[in-house]
Amino acid sequence: MTIREKDVPNISEVVKALSERDQEISDLKAKLLKWESTYERANKRKAVFNSGSGTEISPLYTDLDRAEADPGLLGLPGNYPYTRGPYATMYRSKLWTMRQFAGFATAEDTNARYKYLLDHGQTGLSVAFDFPTLMGFDSDHSRSLGEVGVCGVAVSSTLDMEELFEGIPLDKVSVSMTINGPAIILFCFYIAAAEKQGVDTRVLRGTIQNDILKEYQAQHAWIFPPNPALRCIVDMFDWCSENTPKYNPISISGYHIREAGATAVEELAFTLANGFEYVEKGLESGLDIDSFAPQLSFFFDVHNDFFEEIAKLRAARRIWARRMRKVYGAKNPASWRLRTHCQTAGVSLTAQQAENNIVRVAYQAMAASLGGTQSLHTNSMDETLALPTEKAARIALRTQQILAYESGIPNTIDPLAGSFYVETLTDNIEREAEIIFDEIETLGGVVPGIESGWFQQKIAHSAMRQQNEIESGERTVVGVNQFTEGSESIEIDTLKIDKEVEKRQIAKIVALKKSRDESKVSECLSALHQACRTDENLVPKILECARSYCTLFEIRDVMQEVFGSYKEPVFF
C-alpha cells in the first residue's frame, strides 16, 4: 500500500463533491425527520445519555452533523493538522511503547522489577519515585519519615540513580521519569548515571515529566514558586536541544488534572493551555520555537467514556498543530506534531470487586490505541488497594499485548475516522476547549489562574459533581452503586513495603556522605548558589553537583535559598 503524500486537500474538488451530494442530503434530512418522530414515540431506557464531561449525546449521528465541516480538519496521518495521528504510518511501523510505571522501595529492588518487566516484553521504562523524592527530600530528612520507598523508589543521589539502572543499557532503553518539582535535579542525576555507563548523552531517549504548572493545579508536588520553576524548565529546553536531542525535557500532563477531578474537556484545555505557557516562556527567553518545540511531549488520561477519550486525543493533536503553526509561527512540522503518552484512569478503578478493574483497564487501553497514543501504561487491578503485585502488573501488561497482537486494532490507522459520532465529538471538544482558552486569557493567563485558585476550584467542583452523580445514582459505577455484593467479596494479595527499606536508605546516605569528596561538594553547591542569582543556565551547574554526589536535598536547599518556596492558596 502506498501512502499519498498530498497534504492539503483540494478545496474546490471537495466543494464540487458536496454540491453533488445536495440531493442526497435533502433526502437524508427527510428520512431523518421520520426517524426522529419514531424515536420520540418509542420507549426509552431511563438513563442519562451524557458524555463523561456532561455534554448531551444525540441518539444518532449522521452525515448531516458534519455536512458543514471543513474536510481539511481531517487530513492524513503524519500530516497537518494531525487529527489522524502524529506519524504517517503509525502502528504499521511501530506499535505504541508499552511502558508500565513502576517503582518501590530502594533502587536495587526497583532495578529487579525493571529487569523482570523488560524480560516480559515491556518496551520502555517509567520511574515512579517515592513522595520524599518527588518533594525534594532525602530519605534521611525528618519530613520523609514513613514515606521512604513506599509509593515509589527512593532516589536521593546519583548513586541511587546508578543502582536503579544497573545492568540496563541507557543507550538502548528509553526511560520516562515522573518528577516535577525537583525535575532538573533528578534529570542531572540521570545524565550523570548515563555518563557513568559510558553512554553518549546524544543518544539518550526518554522523557522527564517536568510539568510544574499542573503540579500547582492538581498533583501538588511543588517546591519553588512559578517563576523560578518555569526558569528551570526553560533552561532544560535549552540544554536538552543541544545535548540530548532525542530526549523529551517535558511531558505536558493532563493525567493528574483529570485524576484530581477535571472532565475530559477541562483536562484537554488546561493541559494545552499549560503547553502554550511553556512555549511562550521559551520564546520570551529568546529560544527559537523550532529549536525546542519538537521535543515537547504530552501525557493524557484515558477514562471510561470510550468515544469521548478517542475524540479528545484527536482534538488535542489538531488544536496543538494549529496553535504551533498559526500563532507561534513554527516552521518545522515536528513542532506541530503532538506526541503523547497515555495512562488508563486510576480514579476509575474500584476497591469493590477489584477484579472488574481488569475489564475497565482493557476498554480504556483500547480507547488509547484507537486515539493513536505513542505509549501506554495500563493500570493494575489492585491499585486502589496498594502498590501492584507482580501478578497484577503482569496482567496489566498482557492486556496491552492482547490489544496489540490479537485485537487487530493496530492493523489500520485511525480506524474511527469518518465516524459521524467520533468526528462530531472531536469537533465539539475542540470548540469547547477554545472557550476555556478564552476564559483563561481573561484571567490574565495560566499563572494568575493558578495563583487565584481558579484551576483548582474548577477541578474540585467537577470532582464534587461526579461524586454527587455517583451518590445519586445518576452515574453508575458497577460494584459500587449498582450490582454490589454487600460486603467486600474478593481477597487479593497486596504488596507491602518492608520497614527495613527506610533504614537501608538512610544508612546508604550516611555512607555516601562519608565516602565522597566534601570539598568538591561544597564547591559545586556554592557555584550553583551563585548561578541561581544570575540568568545563567542551571543545568551545567546542577550536573556538576550530581557528578560530585551532592544529594537531592542539598541541591534543592541551595536553590530554595534563592528561589523561595511555593505557598498554595488553601480552599475547598
Partner: protein
C-alpha cells in the same frame, strides 16, 4: 446541651502526598452536612495538624492518606493529641489503606477508616453518630 453545637472537623492532609481530591470532596460534603470544617491544605506534619486541632478546638480530625504512610501518620497524630491533652478528639480518615492495616490502626484507638468508593453519606453518618455519643462529655 451539646446537640445545639455543630460538629467541628479538621480535614487534614498529612505527609508529602498531594492527592487532595478526596479531602476536598469530604470537606465540602461535611460542610454541606452542617459541620464546621477547617481544611489544613497540603503537606502537613503531624505536629502542624495537632496544633491546628488544638487551636481550633475541633471534635474530629479527619485525615486523608493515599501515600501508604498511614501506619506512621495516624498513630503519630493520635499520640501527639494525647500529649496535648486532646485525646477525646476522634481521629478518623480514609485513603488507600489495606485491610490489615485498618484493623491494626483501629486497635490503636483510631476511629473508622474509609476506603475508595465510600459514599460521603456513610462517613457523615459515622461522624454524627460519634458526636451524638461523645459530645456530651466534652
Amino acid at each position: 446541651m451539646s446537640e445545639e453545637r455543630r460538629v467541628r472537623v479538621l480535614v487534614a492532609k498529612p505527609g508529602l502526598d498531594g492527592h487532595d481530591r478526596g479531602a476536598k470532596v469530604i470537606a465540602s460534603a461535611f460542610r454541606d452536612a452542617g459541620f464546621e470544617v477547617i481544611y489544613t491544605g497540603l503537606h502537613q506534619t503531624p505536629e502542624m495538624i495537632v496544633s491546628a486541632a488544638v487551636q481550633e478546638d475541633v471534635d474530629v480530625v479527619a485525615m486523608s492518606v493515599l501515600s501508604g504512610a498511614h501506619m506512621t501518620l495516624f498513630p503519630r497524630v493520635k499520640e501527639l493529641l494525647g500529649q496535648a491533652g486532646a485525646d477525646n478528639v476522634l481521629v478518623t480518615g480514609g485513603g488507600i489503606i489495606p485491610k490489615d492495616d485498618v484493623k491494626e490502626l483501629e486497635d490503636m484507638g483510631i476511629g473508622r477508616l474509609f476506603g475508595p468508593g465510600t459514599s460521603t453519606k456513610e462517613s457523615i453518618a459515622y461522624v454524627k453518630e460519634w458526636f451524638a455519643i461523645h459530645a456530651v462529655s466534652r
